[in-house]
Subunit: 514 residues, 2 copies
């Protein structure tokens, strides 16, 4: 077998079985080896930002890494933004970055670049397999590194000759370290601090926002402690039967107003909250003055065990509050807005649906009615790099083929990785993409005032407005093989979204909002 | 004035007057300052890879930098692939990469990343303006750095507070170093080596492929010396009245066969040629065994002066051969192929047209008949990162509003930066985009065999084929506001391309090829 075969064998032996790819000449051996390794599912993405966002969605849902296949430095570069988001989501991903043959690098051929330098900022681990005999061992190392904890990207550079040369080292076993629960004394100290505090808050992030952890956190709420989550969470259950903590506000001043008087913040699976952006004269750190912070569980540690131990130490009830099922009624009517669309979404969302949220200013309108929808999960934009909604949906759809996937995208965001629509059609995923088309970078119109930049004049408006020409989203989706419909009223949207949820397979809905 | 005003004032004072942008919150001060600086033309791109490719096209045509405006590390990341191409084209570009306020960086907010590390591989110069008072001086330094020679990217990081804080340092003057001619003795040594060689070749690249240099190189050809160019040249005139050197073959074995017996290679504005990729058992360096290489002019030096001096030293004629005007006749008919499309293109191309070539396997068919078309210029894919054709066209169109722009794109390549179509429509550029739609990564089908990977089976084919679903390119273009037509025969294409050349403004043509 050659190095490419060894790589695939090591992947599948360690349960890495999905590959989001856009290969080039230097990756042809890997591509050929796929024919000899049927346990690996290759998914073609027409742009690497789709591949990396899909690997993120896959990793969030499967709790194991997919691999990407990227073409040298530029291919990796195209994937950087969604790997940035994955880094902030702590998603396990193994990037395979093809490179020139080792002996060819010295000639600085046109596609040559400093791949390790490009890969390091978003990778926990970067190594190059410079001999075919190294491939299996380093692939196993990469898989282990990607698991963390906390998880992240591992980037394995695969020179073409390491892929085509023969090797007898067929496979290797990855070492996957487990999360460790915090020490009992540390938990007891947090319990004492909580008892002593007048107005404490427990802030959850990452693993602490997953189903098992939320069930434990609900016990704290039942004990009278306020529980909140980070503003943007990689994966969180929502809806009926699920504990619904509060959420850190996006804008710093709103967050601090919400936290007024809080004297203790217990950090669980996260760090002290900070403002998304800086604004003149406004604070960066979103911890009120005089508020102490204490860490119950770091991102490395086991938040589930920590929350359970804390609830036990406090003598909290065995279970806590969960959301009721209250599907909105009647159906929305009149103007189509994020709010009326949200009502329709909450009415029709099937149980177990996975919402991939890249909807920017439209997101809030959807979130509120979905708090009492049937139980579902939400994958948020963790790193602020727009263009992740439809790519996440590709990956979530591959990871969870029996669940309905709903991507909610702003139109500005959706254009970033519009090629993801093709992969949804290609793989026939059970996925509905909703694009909220306000033909504007609406968030920037809001932010412009907040940064003290004043109102946009003619030149500034040219950079905020998407309306000339107006993108025809239905044509855009149909061009890539998706059935598509435009909705201009709430009734339209109620009908289209209800229909999409009642059927199986890909669907695209343009929500024409003001 | 604030730092953003100082940045724009420094730019326009140094003749940097076009900005290809996709801003975010941290860039709002720059956006607002545009309203106060009417000499800067802002061009919105819906994805940063379009912005950087456009800046490349602009820089190649204007011989001065445009600036980009990019949103932190992820925004820069999205632009990496086309900056890689720009690096290989030696194009002057000044990237403005917005960043968090300096005091906010320590909190590692979600969009925070190691921008200098990401920027360095494709930048000649990377600095952060950490005070408003630094902005003008560093902007001038960046502009000077971008000019080289040879030119390249300079990346100026602009923290939000440096943009919004007041400054009295309004502007600064960039120092733009000139190219220096090689010493007379060095030229004489090359002349002696040429006289002594049995079968010499002069290889041109970069600046040595521009109009003035080609006129001097033609004198060498008239003197009986074989003159060739690099395979992929940033900007080169072509057609009637222009000297047409040979071109280094793409595939290494073809290149070496073509160079058989060559005993001297004189490098002018370039370095010794290397294979684009490595293949098992095939050479990397494309210099025949026993062939000496000597440098007439480095990329830093003045190739025009060097070639003129060499021609003088050899006693070459005052002028050399140029291409005749031979528009193909009759019009092409029957099956639409790159070759028949090329005939139509050569027939209708208007004088001074600028071809932005990202057509991969279709390019050769067009190039041949265009050798004797009216004089025009060609901008090639220099770095191998596909997805540059339409972005280059955006930038070339802004730089050269009185010239017809023609982008030739493979369909796989065009999907990479398909958002460029919107900017062409938005700016109403006199640009025709041709997408050769074979619904395949055709080049990879060829390369797969060459790398010894065998024929693609079912899994491999999934990564090479774009045909399921077939992209509807006319719908894709219309969705973004371009008039569009599909051509399925040579007659269709002749009519559509002829019509597009006869009118002014944006046009899109899908060339359905087998």
């Amino acid at each position: 077998m050659n190095g490419a075969d060894a790589l695939l064998e090591t992947f599948v032996d360690n349960d890495v079985t999905a590959c989001f790819a856009n290969p080039g000449t230097s990756e042809m051996q890997f591509v050929a080896a796929l024919d000899r390794q049927p346990k690996m599912r290759p998914v073609l993405c027409l742009f690497e930002g789709v591949a990396t966002g899909a690997a993120d969605g896959y990793g969030r849902m499967a709790d194991k890494p997919a691999c990407t296949l990227l073409h040298l430095g530029p291919g990796y570069g195209n994937g950087v933004a969604n790997l940035h988001n994955a880094r902030r989501a702590f998603t396990p991903i193994v990037n395979v970055i093809g490179d020139h043959a080792t002996y060819h690098r010295q000639y600085d051929a046109p596609l040559n670049s400093d791949i390790p330098a490009l890969a390091r900022p978003n990778s926990l681990w970067v190594k190059s397999a410079d001999r075919a005999d190294d491939v299996a061992g380093l692939a196993a190392e990469a898989i282990g590194a990607a698991y963390g904890p906390p998880a992240g990207c591992a980037s394995l550079i695969l020179p073409a000759d390491s892929a085509w040369n023969e090797t007898s080292r067929r496979t290797a076993k990855a070492t996957i370290p487990a999360r460790v629960a915090p020490a009992g004394e540390a938990v007891d100290a947090v319990a004492r601090a909580l008892k002593a505090a007048k107005k404490p808050v427990v802030l959850l992030g990452g693993q602490a926002c997953r189903a098992e952890a939320l069930a434990q956190a609900a016990r704290l709420a039942a004990h009278g402690i306020r529980v909140m989550t980070d503003t943007f969470v990689a994966r969180q259950p929502r809806g009926a039967g699920v504990f619904a903590p509060g959420r850190m506000q996006y804008f710093g001043e709103a967050a601090l107003a919400d936290l007024e008087g809080v004297d203790l913040m217990v950090l669980t699976g996260t760090v002290a909250p900070v403002a998304f952006f800086a604004y003149p004269g406004r604070p960066s750190l979103l911890v009120p003055e005089g508020c102490a912070t204490v860490t119950l569980a770091t991102r490395q540690e086991d938040s589930v065990a920590a929350l359970a131990a804390l609830a036990d130490a406090l003598g909290a009830p065995a279970s806590g509050p969960v959301q009721p099922l209250k599907r909105p009624d009647p159906a929305p009517a009149g103007m189509l807005t994020p709010q009326s669309a949200g009502v329709a979404i909450a009415r029709h969302l099937p149980e177990g649906a996975i919402i991939c949220d890249d909807s920017v200013t439209s997101g809030g309108g959807v979130a509120v009615p979905c708090m009492t929808a049937v139980p579902h999960e939400v994958l948020a934009l963790t790193g602020g790099a727009i263009g992740i909604g439809a790519p996440l949906a590709v990956g979530a759809g591959v990871a969870a083929p029996d669940r309905k996937i709903v991507a909610l995208c702003g139109d500005g965001a959706a254009m970033y990785t519009v090629q993801a629509l093709w992969s949804i059609a290609r793989e026939n995923l059970d996925c509905t993409v909703v694009v909220f088309a306000n033909h504007s970078y609406r968030i920037l119109n809001i932010e412009m005032g907040r940064t003290g930049s004043g109102n946009p004049g003619p030149s500034a408006s040219k950079l905020l407005d998407l309306g000339a020409p107006k993108i025809d989203w239905v044509a855009m989706a149909k061009a890539q093989g998706l059935p598509a419909v435009r909705c201009e009223t709430a009734e339209d949207f109620e009908r289209a979204f209800g229909g999409a949820m009642a059927q199986t397979g890909p669907m695209f809905i343009e929500a024409a909002i003001p």
